[in-house]
Amino acid sequence: MNMSGFQTALGGDALESSNFLSLFAVFMAVCTIMYLLVIGALLIGMWRGRTPGGELTVESGRHHESTPAFRTALIGWTALILVGLTALTIASFFTDRSNASVARDPGLTLKVTANQWWWDVEYTTHDASKMIRTANEIHLPVGVPAEITLQASDVIHSLWIPNLAGKQDLIPGRVTDMQLLPRKIGTYRGQCAEFCGIQHAHMALDVTVESKADFEKWVAAQQRVAFAPTTPLQLAGYHYVTTRECSACHAITGTPAGGTVGPDLTHFASRRSIGAGTLPMNTGNLYGWIADPQSQKPGNHMPTIGLEPADLHAIVAYLETLK
C-alpha cells in the first residue's frame, strides 16, 4: 500500500489542513510585507546615517518634534499595522468557522482513546451490535465529515495527523474532540505529539481515507467475528490465547478472550503494523513481538511471558488467521 506523500503539515488533504494552509498563506503574506518594510526602513536609516547637528536629535533638545513627512510616515505605518492585524483576525475567524462547520452534521462518529503507547479506536453507532473496536488504525470515507471524540486513559497524549488536521490533546478525565473532512484518498500517518513516556516515539497510527464503497467493505469486515481456527496448530494457539495471559488484556470478538486493557485483536492481522507503528506486520516481526515484546518496544505494557517454542508457533499461527 502506498503512503500518499510523506507526513507533512502542508499537505492540505482534508478541509481542516487546507483551511490552515490558506491561513498560513495569509499570515505569510502579511508578515512578509511587514518584515520587508521594517528591514527596508532599517536599511534606509543605516544608509542615511544621522545628520551631524541635525534638527531632531536629543542633543538639540527638539527630539519630540517632527517634520510633516515623518508624521505622515508614522500615521501610514500605524494604519498598515491596523490593516494587517485586521486581515489576520478576519482570516483566523473564517478559518475557525469553516473548521467548526464540519461538526454540525457529522456523517461518522468515532472515539479514540490514547493509552501508553497505542491508540484505541471505536466506531460508535446506536446499534451496539454494529460497533467496531480496533487499534492504531482509522478508516475514513472520503468527503464524509467525521467527529472524533478523544480521551486518554493514563497521561496526556496528543493526536496529530499532519496531512489532515492540526494537533488536539487527549487529557485524562476530559473529553476533547476533533473534526475531519478528508478530501483526498490515501494512507496517512498520525502520531502522538505530546511526550507521554518512554515509548512516545512508537505511538503512531495509520489513517486510511478511502472511497465510500471501500469504507463500507472495511466496516463489514470489521463487524464480522474472528475467524475460527482450522488447523491443529491454529487451534492450539487459539487455546493458549483465549485461556492464558493474552486474554487477560486482549479481546477477540467471538471468543472467550475479553480483556479491555490492550488492543482488540479481532482483526489484528489485517492491520499494517504491530505495536502502534513499531514494526511492519509480517510473520517474522510477529514472532519477534510475541516472543519478547520488551526487546521490540522496551517498557511497553505487554509483558515478556517466556513462551515455550511450541506455544509461540501456535500463537503466531492463530494470530495470522485474524484477518
Binding site: 485524562p172 485461556t243 492464558r244 495471559e245 486474554s247 487477560a248 488484556c249 486493557v261 519478547d292 520488551q294 526487546s295 522496551p298 517498557g299 511497553n300 505494557h301 509483558p303 515478556t304 511471558i305 517466556g306
Partner: protein, 182 residues
C-alpha cells in the same frame, strides 16, 4: 579546589547517583527472565514450638523497594479489576488490604502466593493469567496499601478516590499476626 578534593567529590556524587538510581530501576523483562513465584510460601506467621518463620525471599526487596515495580503493580490493580472485590484497599466482597490483618500472611512472598494460587471463597488464581513478574509487582503494590513499604518508593498519588492520606504519609506499623485477624 585541589584535584584530590575535586576527585573525591566527583566519586561521592557518582556513588550517590548510582545508589539513588536503584529505587527507579526499570526491569521490564523480569530478571532473571522467567521469574518464579514462591507458591509454596506458608501463609502462617506463627509456628509450633516457637519456631521462627523462614527468612524472606531475597527477591522481595527488589520489588518492594522499587518505584517502577510498585507503579506497575498499581496499574495492574486497576487493569485486573482487583478493586471489584477489594475496593481500593478498603475491602468489599473481598477482605480489606489497607489494614494490618492478613488471613494468608502479609509478607510479599505470601501475598504473591495468594495472588498466584487463589484463596478459598472467591479469590481467583492468577497463575497463567499474569506473568510471575507481574504478580510480584502486584504484591509489592498491595503491600503499600497498608503502609508497609518504604516511603520513597511508593507513588505519592493515586488515580482513585480515597479516604486515606497519601501513601507517602501513611504511618508505618508492624503487621498484625495472621491468626489474630478474625
Amino acid at each position: 579546589m585541589s584535584s584530590l578534593y575535586r576527585n573525591s567529590f566527583a566519586a561521592i556524587a557518582l556513588l550517590a547517583l548510582i545508589c539513588g538510581c536503584d529505587r527507579d530501576k526499570q526491569e521490564p523483562r523480569g530478571n532473571p527472565l522467567g521469574e518464579t513465584i514462591p507458591i509454596a510460601a506458608s501463609p502462617d506467621t506463627i509456628f509450633p514450638g516457637g519456631k521462627t518463620p523462614p527468612s524472606l525471599d531475597p527477591r522481595a526487596a527488589a520489588y518492594e523497594q522499587n518505584a517502577y515495580a510498585i507503579a506497575q503493580g498499581q496499574q495492574l490493580f486497576t487493569w485486573m479489576n482487583c478493586a471489584g472485590c477489594h475496593s481500593h484497599g478498603g475491602g468489599g466482597m473481598g477482605p480489606a488490604l489497607m489494614d494490618g490483618k492478613w488471613r494468608y500472611g502479609g509478607r510479599i512472598d505470601q501475598i504473591a502466593a495468594s495472588i498466584a494460587n487463589g484463596r478459598p471463597n472467591g479469590m481467583p488464581s492468577w497463575r497463567g493469567k499474569l506473568t510471575n513478574q507481574q504478580i510480584w509487582q502486584l504484591a509489592a503494590y498491595v503491600r503499600t496499601l497498608s503502609g508497609q513499604v518504604r516511603k520513597d518508593a511508593v507513588g505519592a498519588r493515586g488515580d482513585t478516590m480515597s479516604n486515606s492520606p497519601p501513601q507517602t504519609e501513611t504511618v508505618r506499623k508492624p503487621v498484625t499476626q495472621a491468626d489474630s485477624a478474625q
